[in-house]
Protein backbone atom coordinates (compact mmCIF):
# COMPACT_ATOMS: atom_id res chain seq x y z
CA UNK A 1 0.00 0.00 0.00
CA UNK A 2 2.73 2.42 1.06
CA UNK A 3 4.79 1.46 -1.93
CA UNK A 4 1.87 2.16 -4.21
CA UNK A 5 1.30 5.59 -2.70
CA UNK A 6 4.97 6.46 -3.02
CA UNK A 7 5.00 5.36 -6.64
CA UNK A 8 1.88 7.39 -7.32
CA UNK A 9 3.44 10.43 -5.68
CA UNK A 10 6.58 10.07 -7.78
CA UNK A 11 4.56 9.81 -10.95
CA UNK A 12 2.52 12.84 -9.94
CA UNK A 13 5.69 14.79 -9.21
CA UNK A 14 7.17 13.83 -12.54
CA UNK A 15 4.03 14.90 -14.33
CA UNK A 16 3.85 18.21 -12.47
CA UNK A 17 7.55 18.96 -12.74
CA UNK A 18 7.01 21.12 -15.81
CA UNK A 19 4.85 23.38 -13.69
CA UNK A 20 6.74 23.19 -10.41
CA UNK A 21 10.38 23.55 -11.54
CA UNK A 22 9.99 26.95 -13.25
CA UNK A 23 8.12 28.21 -10.22
CA UNK A 24 10.86 27.02 -7.85
CA UNK A 25 13.48 28.50 -10.14
CA UNK A 26 11.70 31.85 -10.12
CA UNK A 27 11.36 31.83 -6.33
CA UNK A 28 15.06 31.03 -5.99
CA UNK A 29 15.99 33.87 -8.34
CA UNK A 30 13.88 36.31 -6.35
CA UNK A 31 15.48 35.11 -3.14
CA UNK A 32 18.96 35.64 -4.59
CA UNK A 33 18.01 39.03 -5.94
CA UNK A 34 16.81 40.17 -2.54
CA UNK A 35 20.05 39.04 -0.94
CA UNK A 36 22.21 40.65 -3.64
CA UNK A 37 23.51 44.02 -2.52
CA UNK A 38 23.18 46.34 -5.45
CA UNK A 39 25.79 49.11 -5.64
CA UNK A 40 24.32 52.39 -4.52
CA UNK A 41 25.42 55.81 -5.74
CA UNK A 42 24.44 58.00 -2.92
CA UNK A 43 24.49 61.69 -3.67
CA UNK A 44 27.08 63.53 -1.66
CA UNK A 45 25.95 67.15 -1.35
CA UNK A 46 29.33 68.22 -0.04
CA UNK A 47 31.37 66.80 -2.90
CA UNK A 48 30.98 69.74 -5.24
CA UNK A 49 31.59 72.23 -2.45
CA UNK A 50 34.76 70.43 -1.44
CA UNK A 51 35.90 70.25 -5.06
CA UNK A 52 35.29 73.98 -5.48
CA UNK A 53 37.12 74.75 -2.23
CA UNK A 54 40.13 72.78 -3.46
CA UNK A 55 39.93 74.49 -6.83
CA UNK A 56 39.89 77.95 -5.23
CA UNK A 57 42.94 77.07 -3.14
CA UNK A 58 44.76 75.85 -6.24
CA UNK A 59 43.82 78.96 -8.23
CA UNK A 60 44.98 81.20 -5.39
CA UNK A 61 48.33 79.43 -5.29
CA UNK A 62 48.90 79.96 -9.01
CA UNK A 63 47.84 83.53 -9.75
CA UNK A 64 49.22 86.63 -8.08
CA UNK A 65 47.57 88.42 -5.20
CA UNK A 66 45.91 91.05 -7.40
CA UNK A 67 44.38 88.47 -9.72
CA UNK A 68 43.16 86.39 -6.81
CA UNK A 69 41.55 89.43 -5.20
CA UNK A 70 39.95 90.32 -8.53
CA UNK A 71 38.40 86.88 -8.87
CA UNK A 72 37.33 86.77 -5.25
CA UNK A 73 35.71 90.21 -5.38
CA UNK A 74 34.37 90.39 -8.94
CA UNK A 75 33.94 86.78 -10.02
CA UNK A 76 36.17 86.95 -13.10
CA UNK A 77 39.82 87.32 -14.05
CA UNK A 78 41.47 89.69 -16.50
CA UNK A 79 44.44 88.47 -18.48
CA UNK A 80 46.39 90.82 -20.73
CA UNK A 81 46.85 89.76 -24.32
CA UNK A 82 50.36 89.42 -25.65
CA UNK A 83 49.92 88.89 -29.38
CA UNK A 84 51.34 91.78 -31.36
CA UNK A 85 48.29 92.36 -33.53
CA UNK A 86 45.60 91.11 -31.21
CA UNK A 87 43.84 87.80 -30.98
CA UNK A 88 42.03 88.04 -34.28
CA UNK A 89 44.22 87.70 -37.35
CA UNK A 90 41.54 89.09 -39.62
CA UNK A 91 40.68 92.24 -37.71
CA UNK A 92 43.66 92.97 -35.54
CA UNK A 93 43.93 95.63 -32.88
CA UNK A 94 46.47 97.84 -34.60
CA UNK A 95 48.82 97.29 -31.72
CA UNK A 96 46.38 98.60 -29.12
CA UNK A 97 46.55 96.82 -25.78
CA UNK A 98 43.85 94.26 -25.27
CA UNK A 99 42.85 91.85 -22.60
CA UNK A 100 40.58 88.91 -21.89
CA UNK A 101 37.92 88.44 -19.27
CA UNK A 102 37.76 84.90 -17.95
CA UNK A 103 34.46 83.80 -16.47
CA UNK A 104 33.83 80.32 -15.07
CA UNK A 105 32.14 78.13 -17.66
CA UNK A 106 31.44 81.07 -19.96
CA UNK A 107 33.26 82.17 -23.10
CA UNK A 108 36.49 84.10 -22.82
CA UNK A 109 35.89 87.66 -23.91
CA UNK A 110 38.52 89.79 -25.64
CA UNK A 111 38.29 93.58 -25.49
CA UNK A 112 40.36 96.66 -26.12
CA UNK A 113 41.73 97.87 -22.83
CA UNK A 114 41.45 101.61 -23.48
CA UNK A 115 38.14 101.91 -25.25
CA UNK A 116 36.47 98.82 -23.78
CA UNK A 117 35.40 97.86 -27.27
CA UNK A 118 34.40 94.20 -27.22
CA UNK A 119 36.32 92.17 -29.78
CA UNK A 120 35.25 88.53 -29.71
CA UNK A 121 33.94 85.71 -27.61
CA UNK A 122 36.07 82.58 -27.51
CA UNK A 123 34.13 79.48 -26.54
CA UNK A 124 36.35 76.85 -25.03
CA UNK A 125 35.73 73.83 -22.85
CA UNK A 126 37.91 71.33 -21.04
CA UNK A 127 36.12 68.02 -21.54
CA UNK A 128 37.18 64.85 -19.77
CA UNK A 129 38.26 62.61 -22.67
CA UNK A 130 38.70 59.63 -20.37
CA UNK A 131 34.96 59.21 -19.96
CA UNK A 132 33.33 58.54 -23.33
CA UNK A 133 29.83 58.66 -21.90
CA UNK A 134 30.22 62.22 -20.75
CA UNK A 135 31.44 63.66 -17.53
CA UNK A 136 30.84 66.23 -14.91
CA UNK A 137 32.56 69.51 -15.58
CA UNK A 138 35.48 71.12 -13.80
CA UNK A 139 34.71 73.10 -10.68
CA UNK A 140 34.27 76.81 -11.45
CA UNK A 141 37.67 77.88 -10.17
CA UNK A 142 39.41 75.02 -11.97
CA UNK A 143 37.76 76.12 -15.21
CA UNK A 144 39.07 79.65 -14.64
CA UNK A 145 42.53 78.33 -13.78
CA UNK A 146 42.61 76.09 -16.86
CA UNK A 147 41.76 79.09 -19.05
CA UNK A 148 44.32 81.23 -17.24
CA UNK A 149 47.06 78.63 -17.68
CA UNK A 150 46.23 78.04 -21.31
CA UNK A 151 46.07 81.78 -22.07
CA UNK A 152 49.24 82.77 -20.24
CA UNK A 153 51.08 79.65 -21.40
CA UNK A 154 50.14 79.58 -25.05
CA UNK A 155 47.65 82.28 -25.97
CA UNK A 156 47.67 81.60 -29.69
CA UNK A 157 47.09 77.90 -29.25
CA UNK A 158 44.07 78.43 -27.03
CA UNK A 159 42.58 81.11 -29.25
CA UNK A 160 43.08 78.89 -32.29
CA UNK A 161 41.41 75.98 -30.50
CA UNK A 162 38.42 77.98 -29.32
CA UNK A 163 35.33 78.67 -31.38
CA UNK A 164 35.22 82.38 -32.05
CA UNK A 165 31.99 84.34 -32.09
CA UNK A 166 31.03 87.95 -32.21
CA UNK A 167 30.35 89.61 -28.86
CA UNK A 168 26.85 89.11 -27.56
CA UNK A 169 26.35 85.51 -28.55
CA UNK A 170 26.49 84.20 -25.00
CA UNK A 171 27.67 87.07 -22.86
CA UNK A 172 25.37 90.04 -22.62
CA UNK A 173 27.42 93.05 -23.84
CA UNK A 174 25.69 95.32 -21.33
CA UNK A 175 26.68 93.00 -18.52
CA UNK A 176 30.25 92.81 -19.79
CA UNK A 177 30.49 96.61 -19.96
CA UNK A 178 29.18 96.77 -16.43
CA UNK A 179 31.81 94.23 -15.39
CA UNK A 180 34.50 96.37 -17.02
CA UNK A 181 33.18 99.39 -15.14
CA UNK A 182 33.20 97.38 -11.91
CA UNK A 183 36.77 96.34 -12.68
CA UNK A 184 37.89 99.94 -13.17
CA UNK A 185 36.20 100.96 -9.91
CA UNK A 186 37.77 98.02 -8.15
CA UNK A 187 41.23 98.96 -9.46
CA UNK A 188 40.85 102.56 -8.34
CA UNK A 189 39.84 101.48 -4.86
CA UNK A 190 42.70 99.04 -4.74
CA UNK A 191 45.21 101.68 -5.83
CA UNK A 192 43.93 104.00 -3.11
CA UNK A 193 44.35 101.26 -0.56
CA UNK A 194 47.82 100.39 -1.77
CA UNK A 195 48.79 104.04 -1.71
CA UNK A 196 48.27 103.97 2.02
CA UNK A 197 44.86 105.54 2.35
CA UNK A 198 41.95 103.67 3.77
CA UNK A 199 39.78 104.19 0.76
CA UNK A 200 36.37 102.63 0.67
CA UNK A 201 36.00 99.14 -0.58
CA UNK A 202 34.45 98.80 -4.03
CA UNK A 203 30.79 99.56 -3.73
CA UNK A 204 29.63 96.58 -5.62
CA UNK A 205 32.05 94.13 -4.12
CA UNK A 206 30.69 90.64 -4.26
CA UNK A 207 31.92 87.21 -3.59
CA UNK A 208 32.89 84.95 -6.44
CA UNK A 209 31.66 81.96 -4.49
Amino acid sequence: MLLALAATALVALALLSDLIVPRIDELWSRFKARRHRAPTWSYDPGRERRAEARARALLRSCVNEEEWSMYRDLGFLRVWGTLADGPDDAGGTGGAPYAYLIYPHRPILAYLAQTHRLLNEYCVTFPDESRPYGSSRLPDSDDVLAKWMALTGDERRLITTANMHLPGRQLDPAQVRRDLWRLSQWERARMRQLAGGDGPAPADRQSAA
Binding site: E48, A51, R54, C123, F126, S135, T152, G153, R157, N163
Partner: protein
Amino acid sequence: MKPGHGEVLIAEGDVERADDEQRLIEEFRRQLDAGLWAAVPVSDREGRRESLMVRSFEDIPWDADRVIFFPRAAGGR
Protein backbone atom coordinates in the same frame (compact mmCIF):
# COMPACT_ATOMS: atom_id res chain seq x y z
CA MET B 1 42.39 68.86 -12.13
CA LYS B 2 39.69 66.31 -12.50
CA PRO B 3 36.15 67.11 -13.55
CA GLY B 4 33.83 66.66 -10.62
CA HIS B 5 36.65 66.34 -8.13
CA GLY B 6 38.95 69.32 -8.38
CA GLU B 7 42.60 68.92 -7.56
CA VAL B 8 43.85 65.36 -7.20
CA LEU B 9 47.44 64.51 -6.25
CA ILE B 10 48.76 62.09 -8.87
CA ALA B 11 52.35 61.56 -7.83
CA GLU B 12 55.04 63.24 -5.85
CA GLY B 13 58.73 62.69 -5.41
CA ASP B 14 62.20 64.13 -5.50
CA VAL B 15 63.68 64.33 -9.00
CA GLU B 16 67.15 64.08 -7.51
CA ARG B 17 66.39 60.51 -6.53
CA ALA B 18 66.62 58.23 -9.54
CA ASP B 19 63.71 55.97 -8.60
CA ASP B 20 61.46 58.94 -7.87
CA GLU B 21 62.43 60.63 -11.12
CA GLN B 22 61.65 57.53 -13.15
CA ARG B 23 58.26 57.21 -11.48
CA LEU B 24 57.48 60.87 -12.12
CA ILE B 25 58.52 60.57 -15.76
CA GLU B 26 56.27 57.58 -16.26
CA GLU B 27 53.34 59.32 -14.61
CA PHE B 28 53.96 62.46 -16.65
CA ARG B 29 53.89 60.46 -19.89
CA ARG B 30 50.81 58.59 -18.78
CA GLN B 31 48.92 61.82 -18.19
CA LEU B 32 49.93 63.28 -21.54
CA ASP B 33 49.07 60.02 -23.29
CA ALA B 34 45.64 60.30 -21.69
CA GLY B 35 45.19 63.56 -23.55
CA LEU B 36 45.82 66.02 -20.73
CA TRP B 37 47.75 69.24 -20.98
CA ALA B 38 50.50 70.00 -18.50
CA ALA B 39 51.45 73.41 -17.14
CA VAL B 40 53.85 74.77 -14.57
CA PRO B 41 52.94 78.01 -12.79
CA VAL B 42 55.95 80.34 -12.83
CA SER B 43 56.80 83.92 -11.96
CA ASP B 44 58.68 86.26 -14.23
CA ARG B 45 61.30 88.77 -13.08
CA GLU B 46 58.69 91.42 -12.29
CA GLY B 47 56.77 88.97 -10.15
CA ARG B 48 54.05 88.52 -12.72
CA ARG B 49 52.54 85.07 -12.61
CA GLU B 50 52.04 83.02 -15.74
CA SER B 51 52.14 79.42 -16.74
CA LEU B 52 54.54 77.43 -18.82
CA MET B 53 52.95 74.76 -20.98
CA VAL B 54 55.19 71.69 -21.02
CA ARG B 55 55.11 68.89 -23.55
CA SER B 56 57.96 66.77 -22.30
CA PHE B 57 59.46 66.05 -18.91
CA GLU B 58 62.64 67.85 -19.94
CA ASP B 59 60.66 71.07 -20.42
CA ILE B 60 59.83 71.25 -16.74
CA PRO B 61 61.98 73.85 -14.96
CA TRP B 62 64.37 72.21 -12.56
CA ASP B 63 63.07 74.22 -9.62
CA ALA B 64 59.38 73.66 -10.37
CA ASP B 65 57.55 72.38 -7.35
CA ARG B 66 54.54 71.03 -9.24
CA VAL B 67 53.06 70.29 -12.61
CA ILE B 68 49.34 70.76 -13.09
CA PHE B 69 47.53 68.50 -15.54
CA PHE B 70 44.21 69.60 -16.92
CA PRO B 71 41.88 68.45 -19.69
CA ARG B 72 42.85 69.49 -23.20
CA ALA B 73 40.95 72.52 -24.45
CA ALA B 74 38.34 72.08 -27.12
CA GLY B 75 36.10 74.48 -28.93
CA GLY B 76 32.90 75.06 -27.02
CA ARG B 77 29.47 76.16 -28.09
